[in-house]
Protein backbone atom coordinates (compact mmCIF):
# COMPACT_ATOMS: atom_id res chain seq x y z
CA UNK A 1 0.00 0.00 0.00
CA UNK A 2 1.34 3.44 -0.84
CA UNK A 3 0.02 6.78 0.24
CA UNK A 4 -1.17 8.84 -2.71
CA UNK A 5 1.19 11.69 -3.50
CA UNK A 6 0.24 14.76 -1.54
CA UNK A 7 1.11 17.21 -4.30
CA UNK A 8 -0.02 17.06 -7.91
CA UNK A 9 2.89 18.30 -9.97
CA UNK A 10 2.78 19.60 -13.51
CA UNK A 11 5.80 19.53 -15.79
CA UNK A 12 8.20 22.43 -15.25
CA UNK A 13 10.45 22.75 -18.29
CA UNK A 14 14.14 22.68 -17.41
CA UNK A 15 15.43 26.24 -17.89
CA UNK A 16 18.51 27.02 -19.95
CA UNK A 17 20.50 27.70 -16.80
CA UNK A 18 22.88 25.89 -14.47
CA UNK A 19 21.53 23.06 -12.34
CA UNK A 20 23.15 20.65 -9.94
CA UNK A 21 22.79 16.95 -9.31
CA UNK A 22 20.95 16.49 -6.01
CA UNK A 23 22.80 13.97 -3.82
CA UNK A 24 21.73 12.64 -0.43
CA UNK A 25 24.23 14.61 1.72
CA UNK A 26 22.73 17.87 0.41
CA UNK A 27 19.05 17.07 0.80
CA UNK A 28 18.70 18.79 4.17
CA UNK A 29 20.48 21.88 2.83
CA UNK A 30 18.06 21.97 -0.08
CA UNK A 31 15.03 21.68 2.14
CA UNK A 32 16.15 24.36 4.60
CA UNK A 33 18.17 26.77 2.42
CA UNK A 34 16.56 26.52 -1.00
CA UNK A 35 19.81 27.40 -2.73
CA UNK A 36 19.58 29.56 -5.86
CA UNK A 37 20.05 27.05 -8.68
CA UNK A 38 17.80 26.92 -11.70
CA UNK A 39 16.94 23.24 -11.50
CA UNK A 40 18.02 19.90 -10.08
CA UNK A 41 18.65 16.45 -11.45
CA UNK A 42 18.38 13.15 -9.54
CA UNK A 43 19.33 9.60 -10.38
CA UNK A 44 15.95 8.01 -11.01
CA UNK A 45 16.96 4.66 -9.51
CA UNK A 46 17.60 6.24 -6.11
CA UNK A 47 13.91 7.07 -5.85
CA UNK A 48 12.29 3.75 -6.73
CA UNK A 49 11.57 2.73 -3.14
CA UNK A 50 7.91 2.32 -2.20
CA UNK A 51 7.94 5.18 0.29
CA UNK A 52 9.89 6.72 3.14
CA UNK A 53 11.96 9.81 3.83
CA UNK A 54 13.83 9.96 0.54
CA UNK A 55 10.71 10.31 -1.58
CA UNK A 56 9.15 12.67 0.94
CA UNK A 57 12.18 14.96 0.72
CA UNK A 58 12.14 14.88 -3.07
CA UNK A 59 8.49 15.80 -3.05
CA UNK A 60 9.24 18.79 -0.85
CA UNK A 61 12.20 19.92 -2.96
CA UNK A 62 10.28 19.38 -6.19
CA UNK A 63 7.85 22.11 -5.14
CA UNK A 64 10.66 24.64 -5.45
CA UNK A 65 12.69 23.36 -8.40
CA UNK A 66 12.18 22.00 -11.89
CA UNK A 67 13.38 18.39 -11.90
CA UNK A 68 15.29 16.28 -14.38
CA UNK A 69 15.34 12.48 -13.91
CA UNK A 70 18.59 10.87 -15.01
CA UNK A 71 18.59 7.09 -15.19
CA UNK A 72 21.56 4.86 -14.48
CA UNK A 73 20.01 1.39 -14.59
CA UNK A 74 17.87 1.01 -17.69
CA UNK A 75 20.71 -0.49 -19.72
CA UNK A 76 19.68 0.86 -23.12
CA UNK A 77 22.53 -1.05 -24.76
CA UNK A 78 21.53 -4.52 -23.55
CA UNK A 79 21.24 -7.21 -26.16
CA UNK A 80 18.53 -8.89 -24.09
CA UNK A 81 16.26 -5.84 -24.20
CA UNK A 82 14.82 -3.78 -21.37
CA UNK A 83 13.38 -4.92 -18.06
CA UNK A 84 9.66 -4.14 -18.33
CA UNK A 85 9.19 -4.03 -14.55
CA UNK A 86 11.90 -1.43 -14.34
CA UNK A 87 10.30 0.57 -17.14
CA UNK A 88 7.02 0.52 -15.23
CA UNK A 89 8.64 1.66 -11.96
CA UNK A 90 10.33 4.53 -13.78
CA UNK A 91 7.09 5.49 -15.49
CA UNK A 92 5.37 5.66 -12.10
CA UNK A 93 8.16 7.89 -10.75
CA UNK A 94 7.85 10.21 -13.76
CA UNK A 95 4.06 10.30 -13.44
CA UNK A 96 4.40 11.35 -9.83
CA UNK A 97 7.17 13.94 -10.11
CA UNK A 98 6.58 15.19 -13.67
CA UNK A 99 10.22 15.82 -14.59
CA UNK A 100 11.03 18.37 -17.27
CA UNK A 101 13.63 16.03 -18.75
CA UNK A 102 14.23 12.28 -18.65
CA UNK A 103 17.61 10.94 -19.69
CA UNK A 104 19.68 7.76 -19.82
CA UNK A 105 23.04 6.59 -21.17
CA UNK A 106 24.44 5.07 -24.33
CA UNK A 107 25.81 2.15 -22.34
CA UNK A 108 24.72 -1.13 -20.82
CA UNK A 109 24.69 -2.48 -17.27
CA UNK A 110 22.45 -5.56 -17.36
CA UNK A 111 23.29 -8.97 -18.80
CA UNK A 112 21.27 -12.11 -18.24
CA UNK A 113 19.28 -10.28 -15.56
CA UNK A 114 22.40 -9.36 -13.58
CA UNK A 115 22.80 -5.67 -12.82
CA UNK A 116 26.46 -4.67 -12.91
CA UNK A 117 26.05 -1.10 -11.62
CA UNK A 118 28.39 0.49 -14.11
CA UNK A 119 27.92 2.20 -17.46
CA UNK A 120 29.60 -0.40 -19.62
CA UNK A 121 30.81 0.32 -23.14
CA UNK A 122 29.15 -0.71 -26.38
CA UNK A 123 31.03 -1.69 -29.50
CA UNK A 124 30.08 0.83 -32.16
CA UNK A 125 28.65 -1.56 -34.72
CA UNK A 126 25.51 -1.62 -36.83
CA UNK A 127 24.20 -4.48 -34.67
CA UNK A 128 24.68 -2.52 -31.42
CA UNK A 129 23.13 0.59 -32.98
CA UNK A 130 20.07 -1.40 -34.03
CA UNK A 131 19.69 -2.86 -30.54
CA UNK A 132 20.21 0.50 -28.85
CA UNK A 133 17.63 2.18 -31.09
CA UNK A 134 15.10 -0.58 -30.50
CA UNK A 135 15.54 -0.15 -26.73
CA UNK A 136 15.35 3.66 -26.90
CA UNK A 137 12.11 3.38 -28.83
CA UNK A 138 10.73 0.93 -26.28
CA UNK A 139 11.64 3.27 -23.43
CA UNK A 140 10.10 6.31 -25.15
CA UNK A 141 6.95 4.34 -25.75
CA UNK A 142 6.79 3.09 -22.15
CA UNK A 143 7.35 6.58 -20.74
CA UNK A 144 5.08 8.27 -23.26
CA UNK A 145 7.75 10.87 -23.86
CA UNK A 146 11.02 11.63 -25.59
CA UNK A 147 14.19 10.90 -23.69
CA UNK A 148 17.73 12.23 -23.95
CA UNK A 149 20.65 9.82 -24.25
CA UNK A 150 24.09 10.69 -22.92
CA UNK A 151 27.42 10.04 -24.59
CA UNK A 152 29.50 7.73 -22.36
CA UNK A 153 32.95 8.05 -20.89
CA UNK A 154 34.92 4.93 -21.71
CA UNK A 155 38.14 3.11 -21.01
CA UNK A 156 38.13 0.50 -23.78
CA UNK A 157 37.57 0.56 -27.49
CA UNK A 158 36.60 -2.54 -29.40
CA UNK A 159 38.37 -3.99 -32.39
CA UNK A 160 34.99 -4.66 -34.02
CA UNK A 161 33.80 -1.04 -33.82
CA UNK A 162 33.16 0.48 -37.23
CA UNK A 163 31.30 3.69 -36.40
CA UNK A 164 32.87 6.73 -34.68
CA UNK A 165 31.17 7.40 -31.34
CA UNK A 166 29.86 10.82 -32.45
CA UNK A 167 28.20 9.28 -35.49
CA UNK A 168 26.78 6.51 -33.31
CA UNK A 169 25.23 9.16 -31.05
CA UNK A 170 23.94 11.27 -33.93
CA UNK A 171 22.48 8.24 -35.68
CA UNK A 172 20.69 7.09 -32.51
CA UNK A 173 19.01 10.46 -32.32
CA UNK A 174 18.19 10.46 -36.03
CA UNK A 175 16.62 7.00 -35.97
CA UNK A 176 14.63 7.26 -32.74
CA UNK A 177 13.92 10.97 -32.41
CA UNK A 178 15.51 10.95 -28.96
CA UNK A 179 17.40 13.99 -27.80
CA UNK A 180 21.04 14.10 -26.81
CA UNK A 181 22.59 14.82 -23.44
CA UNK A 182 26.05 16.06 -24.26
CA UNK A 183 28.48 15.31 -21.42
CA UNK A 184 31.55 17.37 -22.21
CA UNK A 185 33.55 15.80 -19.38
CA UNK A 186 32.86 12.41 -20.95
CA UNK A 187 34.01 13.71 -24.32
CA UNK A 188 37.20 14.98 -22.70
CA UNK A 189 37.77 11.72 -20.77
CA UNK A 190 37.12 9.47 -23.76
CA UNK A 191 39.12 11.69 -26.12
CA UNK A 192 42.09 11.45 -23.79
CA UNK A 193 41.70 7.73 -23.10
CA UNK A 194 41.42 6.85 -26.76
CA UNK A 195 43.70 9.64 -27.94
CA UNK A 196 41.30 11.39 -30.29
CA UNK A 197 40.59 15.09 -30.70
CA UNK A 198 37.31 16.37 -29.17
CA UNK A 199 36.74 18.99 -31.86
CA UNK A 200 35.32 16.74 -34.58
CA UNK A 201 33.06 15.20 -31.94
CA UNK A 202 31.28 18.51 -31.38
CA UNK A 203 31.24 19.13 -35.13
CA UNK A 204 29.38 15.88 -35.74
CA UNK A 205 26.69 16.26 -33.08
CA UNK A 206 23.35 17.55 -34.40
CA UNK A 207 23.06 20.63 -32.20
CA UNK A 208 19.32 20.96 -32.46
CA UNK A 209 18.96 17.57 -30.76
CA UNK A 210 21.00 18.54 -27.68
CA UNK A 211 18.64 19.15 -24.76
CA UNK A 212 21.13 19.23 -21.90
CA UNK A 213 24.85 19.39 -21.18
CA UNK A 214 26.72 17.77 -18.26
CA UNK A 215 29.99 18.75 -16.66
CA UNK A 216 31.81 16.93 -13.85
CA UNK A 217 35.27 16.23 -12.48
CA UNK A 218 37.54 13.27 -13.14
CA UNK A 219 40.87 12.02 -11.89
CA UNK A 220 44.09 11.03 -13.59
CA UNK A 221 45.38 7.49 -13.08
CA UNK A 222 48.87 6.58 -14.25
CA UNK A 223 49.40 3.16 -15.79
CA UNK A 224 53.15 2.71 -16.40
CA UNK A 225 53.58 6.42 -17.23
CA UNK A 226 50.44 6.47 -19.39
CA UNK A 227 47.74 8.73 -18.05
CA UNK A 228 44.18 7.45 -18.20
CA UNK A 229 41.31 9.65 -17.06
CA UNK A 230 38.79 8.06 -14.71
CA UNK A 231 35.32 9.58 -14.78
CA UNK A 232 34.58 9.42 -11.05
CA UNK A 233 32.69 12.73 -10.65
CA UNK A 234 34.82 13.32 -7.58
CA UNK A 235 36.65 16.58 -8.25
CA UNK A 236 36.10 20.14 -9.47
CA UNK A 237 35.47 20.44 -13.20
CA UNK A 238 38.84 20.51 -14.99
CA UNK A 239 39.92 23.63 -16.91
CA UNK A 240 39.98 21.69 -20.19
CA UNK A 241 36.36 20.64 -19.58
CA UNK A 242 35.27 24.22 -18.87
CA UNK A 243 36.94 25.14 -22.17
CA UNK A 244 35.03 22.39 -23.94
CA UNK A 245 31.79 23.59 -22.30
CA UNK A 246 32.52 27.11 -23.53
CA UNK A 247 33.02 25.76 -27.03
CA UNK A 248 29.88 23.63 -26.89
CA UNK A 249 27.80 26.55 -25.61
CA UNK A 250 29.19 28.81 -28.32
CA UNK A 251 27.56 26.46 -30.80
CA UNK A 252 24.45 25.58 -28.81
CA UNK A 253 23.53 29.00 -27.50
CA UNK A 254 21.71 28.62 -24.21
CA UNK A 255 20.94 25.14 -22.95
CA UNK A 256 20.54 23.60 -19.46
CA UNK A 257 23.93 22.71 -17.97
CA UNK A 258 24.26 20.33 -15.03
CA UNK A 259 27.14 20.07 -12.58
CA UNK A 260 27.52 16.51 -11.25
CA UNK A 261 29.52 15.36 -8.23
CA UNK A 262 29.12 11.76 -7.05
CA UNK A 263 32.17 10.63 -5.07
CA UNK A 264 34.00 12.48 -2.27
CA UNK A 265 30.99 14.81 -2.26
CA UNK A 266 31.96 18.26 -0.94
CA UNK A 267 29.77 20.76 0.95
CA UNK A 268 26.88 22.11 -1.11
CA UNK A 269 28.55 25.53 -1.42
CA UNK A 270 31.35 24.00 -3.48
CA UNK A 271 28.81 22.68 -5.97
CA UNK A 272 26.95 25.97 -5.99
CA UNK A 273 30.20 27.74 -6.88
CA UNK A 274 30.73 25.31 -9.76
CA UNK A 275 27.17 25.96 -10.91
CA UNK A 276 27.89 29.71 -10.84
CA UNK A 277 30.86 29.16 -13.14
CA UNK A 278 28.64 27.19 -15.51
CA UNK A 279 25.99 29.91 -15.34
CA UNK A 280 28.56 32.57 -16.26
CA UNK A 281 29.44 30.59 -19.40
CA UNK A 282 25.76 30.15 -20.27
CA UNK A 283 25.26 33.90 -19.87
CA UNK A 284 28.14 34.64 -22.22
CA UNK A 285 26.89 32.13 -24.78
CA UNK A 286 23.27 33.26 -24.68
CA UNK A 287 24.07 36.87 -25.49
CA UNK A 288 24.33 37.41 -29.18
CA UNK A 289 24.28 33.85 -30.40
CA UNK A 290 21.37 32.18 -32.00
CA UNK A 291 20.82 28.54 -31.24
CA UNK A 292 21.80 26.36 -34.16
CA UNK A 293 24.56 28.73 -35.30
CA UNK A 294 27.41 26.28 -35.34
CA UNK A 295 30.20 28.81 -35.67
CA UNK A 296 33.69 27.86 -36.66
CA UNK A 297 35.07 24.35 -36.19
CA UNK A 298 36.62 23.78 -32.81
CA UNK A 299 40.25 22.94 -32.28
CA UNK A 300 41.33 20.82 -29.38
CA UNK A 301 42.82 22.72 -26.50
Amino acid sequence: MTTPPSTEFVVDPIPASAGIGLRHPHVTDFVTRRPPVGWIEVHSENYLGAGGPRLAALEQIRRDYPLSCHGVGLSLGSWEGLNVDHLARLRALFDRFQPGLVSEHVAWSVQDGTYLNDLLPLPYTEEALTILCRNVEQAQEAFGRRILVENPSSYVSFAESTIPEWEFMAETSRRTGCGLLLDVNNIHVSAHNHRFEPGPYLDAIPLDMVGEVHVAGHFVHEFDDQAILIDDHGAPVADAVWALLREALRRLGSVPVLVEWDTRIPPLDVLLAEAEKAQALIDIASTGRVRGDTGAPVHAS
Binding site: M1, T2, T3, E45, N46, L48, G49, A50, G51, G52, P53, R54, L55, A56, V72, G73, L74, S75, G77, S78, W79, E80, N83, H86, W108, S109, V110, Q111, D112, G113, T114, Y115, L116, N117, D118, L120, P121, L122, P123, T125, E127, A128, I131, Y155, V156, S157, F158, A159, E160, N193, H194, R195, H221, F223, D224, Q226, I228, I230
Partner: protein, 258 residues
Protein backbone atom coordinates in the same frame (compact mmCIF):
# COMPACT_ATOMS: atom_id res chain seq x y z
CA UNK B 1 27.98 -10.42 -31.62
CA UNK B 2 26.78 -8.12 -28.85
CA UNK B 3 25.27 -11.01 -26.92
CA UNK B 4 28.63 -12.78 -26.71
CA UNK B 5 30.50 -9.62 -25.79
CA UNK B 6 28.09 -8.77 -22.97
CA UNK B 7 28.20 -12.31 -21.64
CA UNK B 8 31.99 -12.29 -21.70
CA UNK B 9 32.09 -8.94 -19.91
CA UNK B 10 29.71 -10.08 -17.16
CA UNK B 11 31.72 -13.22 -16.53
CA UNK B 12 35.02 -11.37 -16.47
CA UNK B 13 33.75 -8.47 -14.37
CA UNK B 14 32.43 -10.79 -11.67
CA UNK B 15 35.68 -12.66 -11.19
CA UNK B 16 35.36 -15.33 -13.88
CA UNK B 17 37.65 -15.87 -16.86
CA UNK B 18 38.31 -12.46 -18.41
CA UNK B 19 40.31 -13.76 -21.39
CA UNK B 20 37.37 -13.79 -23.87
CA UNK B 21 36.43 -10.20 -22.93
CA UNK B 22 40.03 -9.05 -23.22
CA UNK B 23 40.28 -10.50 -26.73
CA UNK B 24 37.67 -8.01 -27.96
CA UNK B 25 39.49 -4.94 -26.58
CA UNK B 26 41.98 -2.93 -28.62
CA UNK B 27 45.54 -2.99 -27.35
CA UNK B 28 46.40 0.69 -27.39
CA UNK B 29 48.37 2.92 -24.97
CA UNK B 30 47.73 0.54 -22.05
CA UNK B 31 46.92 -3.16 -22.11
CA UNK B 32 43.40 -4.59 -22.51
CA UNK B 33 43.80 -6.14 -19.05
CA UNK B 34 44.51 -2.72 -17.54
CA UNK B 35 41.59 -1.17 -19.39
CA UNK B 36 39.20 -3.99 -18.41
CA UNK B 37 40.48 -3.75 -14.83
CA UNK B 38 39.10 -0.20 -14.58
CA UNK B 39 35.59 -1.55 -15.20
CA UNK B 40 36.09 -4.49 -12.85
CA UNK B 41 37.16 -2.13 -10.08
CA UNK B 42 34.20 0.12 -10.78
CA UNK B 43 31.72 -2.77 -10.66
CA UNK B 44 33.07 -4.56 -7.60
CA UNK B 45 34.06 -1.36 -5.80
CA UNK B 46 30.75 0.42 -6.31
CA UNK B 47 28.67 -2.59 -5.28
CA UNK B 48 30.89 -3.22 -2.23
CA UNK B 49 30.42 0.48 -1.45
CA UNK B 50 26.65 0.08 -1.65
CA UNK B 51 26.88 -2.77 0.88
CA UNK B 52 29.09 -0.65 3.15
CA UNK B 53 26.41 2.05 3.10
CA UNK B 54 23.74 -0.49 4.08
CA UNK B 55 25.84 -2.31 6.72
CA UNK B 56 27.92 0.35 8.53
CA UNK B 57 27.99 -1.55 11.83
CA UNK B 58 29.17 -4.76 10.19
CA UNK B 59 31.97 -2.77 8.58
CA UNK B 60 32.82 -1.29 11.98
CA UNK B 61 32.88 -4.75 13.56
CA UNK B 62 35.13 -6.45 11.02
CA UNK B 63 37.17 -3.48 9.82
CA UNK B 64 37.17 -1.85 6.41
CA UNK B 65 39.64 -4.22 4.73
CA UNK B 66 37.88 -7.38 5.81
CA UNK B 67 34.52 -5.87 4.94
CA UNK B 68 35.62 -4.93 1.42
CA UNK B 69 37.00 -8.42 0.81
CA UNK B 70 33.82 -10.08 2.12
CA UNK B 71 31.62 -7.69 0.15
CA UNK B 72 33.51 -8.31 -3.08
CA UNK B 73 33.12 -12.07 -2.58
CA UNK B 74 29.41 -11.60 -2.01
CA UNK B 75 29.07 -9.38 -5.09
CA UNK B 76 30.76 -12.03 -7.25
CA UNK B 77 28.55 -14.76 -5.83
CA UNK B 78 25.25 -12.85 -5.66
CA UNK B 79 25.31 -9.75 -7.87
CA UNK B 80 22.20 -7.56 -7.95
CA UNK B 81 19.28 -8.70 -10.08
CA UNK B 82 17.33 -5.46 -9.80
CA UNK B 83 18.84 -2.20 -11.09
CA UNK B 84 18.28 -0.34 -7.81
CA UNK B 85 21.03 -0.31 -5.22
CA UNK B 86 18.56 0.42 -2.45
CA UNK B 87 17.25 -3.12 -2.93
CA UNK B 88 20.68 -4.78 -2.84
CA UNK B 89 22.02 -6.58 0.21
CA UNK B 90 19.27 -8.73 1.71
CA UNK B 91 21.36 -11.87 1.18
CA UNK B 92 24.52 -10.42 2.72
CA UNK B 93 23.81 -11.42 6.37
CA UNK B 94 23.33 -15.09 5.43
CA UNK B 95 26.44 -14.91 3.28
CA UNK B 96 28.47 -13.61 6.23
CA UNK B 97 27.20 -16.44 8.40
CA UNK B 98 28.53 -18.97 5.92
CA UNK B 99 31.66 -17.02 4.94
CA UNK B 100 34.57 -19.19 6.15
CA UNK B 101 36.90 -16.30 7.17
CA UNK B 102 34.11 -14.87 9.38
CA UNK B 103 33.39 -18.04 11.31
CA UNK B 104 34.93 -16.73 14.52
CA UNK B 105 32.39 -13.88 14.69
CA UNK B 106 29.16 -15.80 14.99
CA UNK B 107 26.84 -12.84 15.50
CA UNK B 108 27.57 -11.06 12.19
CA UNK B 109 24.56 -12.61 10.48
CA UNK B 110 22.06 -11.45 13.08
CA UNK B 111 23.57 -7.97 13.41
CA UNK B 112 23.49 -7.80 9.60
CA UNK B 113 19.79 -8.74 9.65
CA UNK B 114 19.18 -5.87 12.03
CA UNK B 115 20.95 -3.45 9.68
CA UNK B 116 19.09 -4.78 6.65
CA UNK B 117 15.81 -4.44 8.57
CA UNK B 118 16.58 -0.75 8.95
CA UNK B 119 17.28 -0.31 5.22
CA UNK B 120 14.18 -2.27 4.31
CA UNK B 121 12.10 -0.17 6.70
CA UNK B 122 13.45 3.09 5.32
CA UNK B 123 12.22 2.34 1.78
CA UNK B 124 8.97 0.60 2.69
CA UNK B 125 5.63 2.08 1.67
CA UNK B 126 4.09 4.98 3.54
CA UNK B 127 0.98 4.38 5.66
CA UNK B 128 -0.69 6.09 8.59
CA UNK B 129 0.13 4.63 11.99
CA UNK B 130 -2.63 3.12 14.09
CA UNK B 131 -4.41 5.82 16.11
CA UNK B 132 -4.96 5.13 19.84
CA UNK B 133 -8.64 5.93 19.29
CA UNK B 134 -8.91 2.82 17.11
CA UNK B 135 -8.51 0.83 20.34
CA UNK B 136 -10.16 3.10 22.89
CA UNK B 137 -13.33 3.37 20.81
CA UNK B 138 -13.87 -0.39 20.98
CA UNK B 139 -15.87 -2.11 23.70
CA UNK B 140 -13.51 -4.04 26.02
CA UNK B 141 -14.96 -7.39 24.98
CA UNK B 142 -13.99 -6.70 21.36
CA UNK B 143 -10.27 -6.47 22.15
CA UNK B 144 -9.54 -10.16 22.53
CA UNK B 145 -10.36 -11.01 18.93
CA UNK B 146 -8.65 -8.01 17.44
CA UNK B 147 -6.21 -8.55 14.56
CA UNK B 148 -3.38 -6.10 13.91
CA UNK B 149 -1.97 -5.16 10.52
CA UNK B 150 1.69 -4.26 10.67
CA UNK B 151 2.81 -0.92 9.32
CA UNK B 152 4.63 -1.58 6.00
CA UNK B 153 7.87 -0.27 7.56
CA UNK B 154 7.78 -2.51 10.67
CA UNK B 155 10.52 -5.14 10.97
CA UNK B 156 11.10 -7.49 13.92
CA UNK B 157 14.58 -9.00 14.16
CA UNK B 158 15.06 -11.72 16.77
CA UNK B 159 18.41 -13.30 17.45
CA UNK B 160 18.29 -16.80 18.91
CA UNK B 161 21.61 -16.29 20.68
CA UNK B 162 23.18 -12.86 20.58
CA UNK B 163 22.71 -9.40 22.15
CA UNK B 164 22.27 -7.78 18.74
CA UNK B 165 20.86 -4.50 19.90
CA UNK B 166 23.69 -3.91 22.37
CA UNK B 167 26.30 -4.85 19.74
CA UNK B 168 24.62 -2.62 17.16
CA UNK B 169 24.31 0.33 19.50
CA UNK B 170 27.83 0.18 20.90
CA UNK B 171 29.41 -0.19 17.46
CA UNK B 172 27.78 2.77 15.76
CA UNK B 173 30.29 4.39 13.38
CA UNK B 174 29.77 7.64 15.33
CA UNK B 175 31.09 6.04 18.55
CA UNK B 176 34.83 6.71 18.59
CA UNK B 177 35.70 4.13 21.23
CA UNK B 178 33.29 1.18 21.42
CA UNK B 179 33.62 -0.96 24.53
CA UNK B 180 33.79 -4.69 23.95
CA UNK B 181 30.41 -6.43 24.17
CA UNK B 182 30.26 -9.94 25.57
CA UNK B 183 28.43 -11.95 22.88
CA UNK B 184 27.30 -14.29 25.64
CA UNK B 185 25.19 -11.54 27.23
CA UNK B 186 22.02 -13.23 25.98
CA UNK B 187 19.67 -13.08 23.04
CA UNK B 188 18.03 -9.78 22.15
CA UNK B 189 15.19 -8.83 19.82
CA UNK B 190 14.87 -5.53 18.01
CA UNK B 191 11.86 -3.75 16.61
CA UNK B 192 12.45 -1.39 13.69
CA UNK B 193 9.63 1.06 12.98
CA UNK B 194 9.09 4.27 11.06
CA UNK B 195 6.43 6.27 12.89
CA UNK B 196 7.12 9.53 11.05
CA UNK B 197 9.80 9.65 8.40
CA UNK B 198 12.68 8.56 10.60
CA UNK B 199 13.52 4.90 11.18
CA UNK B 200 13.54 3.94 14.88
CA UNK B 201 15.45 1.01 16.32
CA UNK B 202 14.33 -0.22 19.73
CA UNK B 203 15.14 -3.29 21.80
CA UNK B 204 12.08 -5.26 22.91
CA UNK B 205 11.73 -7.67 25.81
CA UNK B 206 11.44 -11.41 25.11
CA UNK B 207 7.71 -11.29 25.84
CA UNK B 208 7.18 -8.28 23.61
CA UNK B 209 9.10 -9.97 20.80
CA UNK B 210 6.76 -12.96 21.00
CA UNK B 211 3.77 -10.62 21.25
CA UNK B 212 4.71 -8.69 18.10
CA UNK B 213 5.67 -11.85 16.25
CA UNK B 214 2.24 -13.38 16.97
CA UNK B 215 0.42 -10.23 15.90
CA UNK B 216 2.47 -10.02 12.70
CA UNK B 217 1.43 -13.60 12.05
CA UNK B 218 -2.21 -12.52 12.31
CA UNK B 219 -2.96 -14.13 15.65
CA UNK B 220 -5.66 -12.29 17.64
CA UNK B 221 -4.67 -10.03 20.52
CA UNK B 222 -5.65 -12.44 23.30
CA UNK B 223 -3.61 -15.30 21.84
CA UNK B 224 -0.61 -13.01 21.28
CA UNK B 225 -0.81 -11.75 24.88
CA UNK B 226 -1.02 -15.27 26.21
CA UNK B 227 2.02 -16.36 24.21
CA UNK B 228 3.90 -13.30 25.44
CA UNK B 229 3.10 -14.10 29.04
CA UNK B 230 4.34 -17.63 28.42
CA UNK B 231 7.67 -16.26 27.28
CA UNK B 232 7.87 -13.55 29.96
CA UNK B 233 5.71 -13.91 33.08
CA UNK B 234 6.06 -10.16 33.86
CA UNK B 235 4.98 -9.10 30.37
CA UNK B 236 3.11 -5.79 30.60
CA UNK B 237 0.39 -5.89 27.94
CA UNK B 238 -0.86 -2.33 28.52
CA UNK B 239 2.64 -0.89 28.48
CA UNK B 240 3.57 -2.82 25.36
CA UNK B 241 0.47 -1.71 23.47
CA UNK B 242 1.07 1.92 24.44
CA UNK B 243 4.68 1.68 23.26
CA UNK B 244 3.62 0.18 19.91
CA UNK B 245 1.09 2.93 19.38
CA UNK B 246 3.84 5.49 19.94
CA UNK B 247 6.25 3.72 17.62
CA UNK B 248 3.82 3.15 14.79
CA UNK B 249 4.32 -0.62 14.81
CA UNK B 250 0.84 -1.19 13.41
CA UNK B 251 -1.30 0.62 10.90
CA UNK B 252 -4.74 -0.92 11.30
CA UNK B 253 -6.86 -3.23 13.43
CA UNK B 254 -9.76 -5.40 12.44
CA UNK B 255 -12.05 -7.91 14.09
CA UNK B 256 -11.29 -11.55 13.54
CA UNK B 257 -14.26 -13.31 12.00
CA UNK B 258 -15.48 -16.00 14.33
Amino acid sequence: MLRDLQTQFRVGLLGGDAAPALASIENDVITPAQRFGIYRNNVLGSLAGALAAAFPVIERLVGERFFRAAARSFVQQSPPTVPQLLAYGDGFPAFLEAFPPAQSVRYLGDVGRLEWGRVDSMFAADAPALEPSALTSLPPEALADLLFAAHPATRLIRSAQFPIHTIWQVNQPSNPDPRPVDPGLGAEAVLVTRPGLAVETNPVTPGDAVFVQCLLQQQPLAAAAEAALGAEPDFDLQGALAAHLGRGTFSRVMQASR
